[in-house]
Amino acid sequence: MSNLLGKGMIDGLVVTAKNFVTSYFDGNRKDRLFTYQYPEERMKLPENSRTFPFLVYDGTPDQMRCTACKVCETECPPQCIYIVMERDANGKPLLRPRVFDIDISVCMQCGICAEVCPTNAIKMDCDFERSAHGRFETLLSHLPELLKSNDYYHQIKSAEATRVDATRKPVKKAAAPAPVKPMPTPADILTEDERSAWQRGCQSEIGTGPIVWPPPVVVKKKVAGTNTEQNVSAAPLPTGTPWHDSGIDIAARMELAKDRSLADKLMAAMAQLDCQACGYDCRGYADALASGTNSDFTLCTPGEEETKNMLEKLLKEAGKL
């Protein structure tokens, strides 16, 4: 305490003085004055930097790569993506999302959706200026805002985009080319029930009683004589499929469907995600394979290897192949 004015303090003064003086000479070097004067002087973001996800389309916004297989919706840790498959009049899936919402107030930009997407449909953007006026509606980005062209993707992440383009084989669209429908305007895109269904699904409220997952697909039907529409939820899946839970692994599922019909065994082999990547839901695809209308057993993309080998084994046993 006594030799307070010793050498150490003078050294400190020398260091700060040196910093002060040299800051005027090499001030513009970024390793000396490292602050960026933000709006005027912008930092060049490295290519890998990721903020919020966006959907990629090739050519016109209508040819979007996303097949609404809902893999990203299940894998997303904070559950901030909500997808509703587009169906034509009589309920046949059209391999395109009618509703694709991302709640960017919940999204934590972890990039897992881009990683797990089987069809390279969703990629991470690097535009971070996404402020909005409201806390709910404006921070919920709907399908039209999310869609960005592949050239934009090339523009922001050229190396990654070229790598992705090289690996992408032309995806065979199982369904017939759907008639070009005008893009749904936001007004009618999310009806009242779908909004609450989305909130149940998206808000990841822990343990709020039994969550029916995925939310029941609601088809509107005009009630005869009145102009009100009555919501009729599609027939829930037959209860007799205990294996229909993506949490159980394939061995356990096959165990459950041991002494069942071929169709049930085929269904047990699926990835149980009803992701419609194969053009049907799990039940539909298993029935199609069993009845021979569709002989291609490699369409269950989320199931990956284990489902394909199991389907091949089952079809061989049944002599279909």
Partner: protein, 384 residues
């Protein structure tokens, strides 16, 4: 003041007498307040720019060309900020405290000779008046701390009072040396006593030690790093002005910074030869050059303050008080003896050497005595 009174009478004799007198009193006050308020605004800007540059970042550069209007922006912001008074606070005292902080800071300006012949009030007890008034700020600290009815401000107030009171004594004793040398209390005569080439008191051994003691005590009086204990942000939030917001907080900041400037002014007057400097006696622009000298020296003192603030950590309370009572006080007493030895020495050289030797011995002895807590050199072993 009477010089200005003559000035007024020469230019407009028709003016009634009492108006001239009133003008003679008010004019210097207006000048001093105007000059030193702009210096205060400038000081906040210089401090933030300098600290920024020390810390590898640009200081404020948004408001005005190089951030020059930043003090105005701060002032406006604080003016428009809501002035929250805690309901448990003692309203009257809570309101009075900021006023009492600012008043002494500005009153001391009355006796600081800014330039040749430019002094607000030439009291013949100038320095004593300055020191007396600056002790009044002790009460303001306590009132602020006590009235805010908040534990942190109480702690801050107690630290502030202890610090100011205990640094008052060595400061006055360091000033005594200068009074002995110049033979009078009036600040103008002190400055005049420092004429000549090596006339500045700081060039004398006892003057240098007195300057160092006075500068340390001034930093402690005004609570600047390394002695900024009363409002130590990291420990007791903001010390005695935790519960102040809006313009009252601005008054506290103004009081603190202006006190720093005035203490700098007095240090310059007493030790660095006020407005003296080559060229301050020229007939035509003598007073302008002397003003430049004064503000140049004031700038040096302010730079030292800012430099210390950007570098050194804060001292703890007991070390702070120990440093004042066990080191500065005895050193200033020995300094007075050294001054006497220098004064009564047969010739200048012998006196100079004798006092220098005496002071050196005193400093070494005091450092040895207080070396209670030695800092051991630590060695660290590396396990594989």
């Amino acid at each position: 003041m009477d010089a200005i009174y003559q000035l007024i009478h020469d230019y407009c004799p028709t003016m009634p007498d009492w108006l001239a007198l009133a003008l003679a009193i008010l004019l210097p006050i207006a000048i001093v307040m105007g000059v030193f308020l702009t210096v205060f605004a400038l000081l906040t800007w210089v401090e933030r720019k300098a600290l920024g540059r020390i810390q590898n970042r640009r200081g404020p550069n948004r408001v005005g060309p190089v951030g020059l209007f930043q003090p105005i922006a701060d002032g406006l912001k604080l003016l428009t900020k809501e002035d929250i008074v805690p309901n448990a606070a003692d309203k009257v005292v809570h309101f009075l405290a900021p006023v009492l902080v600012v008043v002494p800071a500005f009153m001391v300006l009355a006796v600081v000779p800014v330039a040749k012949g430019f002094i607000a009030v030439d009291l013949n007890i100038g320095v004593l008046f300055a020191l007396a008034v600056s002790t009044a700020s002790v009460l303001a600290l306590f009132m602020a701390g006590w009235a805010s009815h908040n534990k942190f401000s109480l702690l801050g107030a107690m630290r502030g009072v202890a610090q100011v009171v205990s640094y008052e004594v060595p400061m006055v004793l360091a000033a005594v040396v200068v009074l002995m040398a110049s033979g009078s209390l009036s600040s103008v005569s002190i400055v005049e006593a420092q004429r000549g080439l090596t006339g500045w008191f700081v060039c004398k051994p006892w003057g240098l030690v007195g300057f160092v003691i006075f500068q340390l005590c001034a930093m402690a009086e005004v609570a600047r790093t390394p002695f900024d204990l009363p409002e130590a942000e990291s420990e007791i939030v903001a010390g005695y002005h935790t519960e102040y917001s809006g313009f009252k907080f601005a008054l506290f900041q103004m009081g603190e910074y202006v006190a720093a400037i005035t203490m700098g002014g007095i240090t310059v007057t007493m030790f660095l030869g006020g407005y003296l400097g080559p060229g301050c006696d020229l007939p035509k622009f003598g007073w302008l050059i002397s003003a430049c000298w004064f503000f140049a020296k004031l700038g040096i003192i302010v730079v030292i303050n800012i430099w210390a603030r950007g570098t050194w950590p804060r001292v703890r309370v007991d070390q702070l008080l120990g440093f004042a009572w066990k080191l500065l006080l005895p050193l200033s007493l020995v300094n007075i003896v050294a001054m006497a030895v220098w004064h009564f020495a047969p010739n200048k050289l012998v006196g100079w050497v004798e006092s220098a030797v005496l002071l050196a011995v005193a400093i070494v002895a005091l450092v040895k005595i207080n070396a209670g807590q030695t800092f051991e050199k630590r060695s660290y072993r590396f396990t594989s």
